[in-house]
Amino acid sequence: MSEVQRKASKQLPDAGVWLDQHGDYLFKYASFRLRDPAAAEDAVQETFLAALKAYERFEGRGSERTWLVGILKHKITDHFRRIAREAPMGQEGDEGPEHAEFFTRTDGWDDHWNNEYAPTEWHATPSQLVEQGDFWRVFHDCLSPLPQRTASAFTLREIDGLSSAEICELLGIRLNNLWVMLHRARLHLRNCLQLNWFGQKH
């Protein structure tokens, strides 16, 4: 049955077909931001259930996919708010590794880059990187060792482009926390990408 016919008859979508069409997409979208497969599964389930309830109101303006992603975004936001309430920001260390070794030297130039970790020239443009599917796997693995909240703050800022104020509200942190978290995430990620991606031949 085509989507047009289904809507005309106000018939609810078949669960299996619905999951085949959108399940993986929604799950990837959620797990990339939440960085927790169980939480991502919950968010996807809640999205489908909410969509089912509101199906009458979906009048086919835009695609079903876009509509579902819109609902999912709210579920992701709810999840962050819940975490912020249940596990408030703790002490030093929650923000991520400090990587003091990047700036340790023994030649009298302490607090400057250690040659071993110093940035080198990268020969790649953003669009070249996006085209290479492997890049995302490396990227994902590089974010993994970071505390969940730091990785989430980084993704919300750099992928979704949320403002600092929005992220602070969502994650229940102060602006200073956020800046430290973003700085540490960048320090860590840049080094990891250089080691595992830019230092390799492709």
């Binding site: 619905w18 482009g161 973003l182």
Partner: protein, 103 residues
């Protein structure tokens, strides 16, 4: 190396000794992506970047990472980052819940 290059080299080292070190500069570089810098911060950063190629690359890399992520976010409306999809168990569980809720 001619005398001019030697002089330039010495001036750079002399400056690098007197400026905030790389460890403090990378914090400011990260904040420059978050908020407008003060006049003092801007001047110190500019001079540091004049004498330190490492920090120039650091700033460039942060910009590459940001642009890459934003661009791919736009593209991932078509295809989200390659990652595993729903597990068969989760898919089945969600399916059961949808079916139960339809009745």
């Amino acid at each position: 190396m001619g005398w001019y290059d030697k002089l330039k080299h010495s001036v750079r080292f002399w400056l690098l000794r007197r400026l905030p070190p790389c460890k403090e500069t990378v914090v400011v570089i990260s904040q420059s992506l978050e908020r407008p810098l003060s006049m003092r911060e801007r001047v110190l950063l500019k001079v540091h970047l004049w004498v330190c190629m490492w920090c120039v690359w650091y700033l460039e890399h942060l910009q590459v990472i940001r642009r890459t992520m934003r661009e791919s976010a736009a593209e991932s409306e078509l295809d989200p980052p390659s990652a595993p999809g729903l597990s068969p168990e989760a898919r089945e569980r969600i399916k059961q819940r949808i079916v139960a809720n339809k009745q």
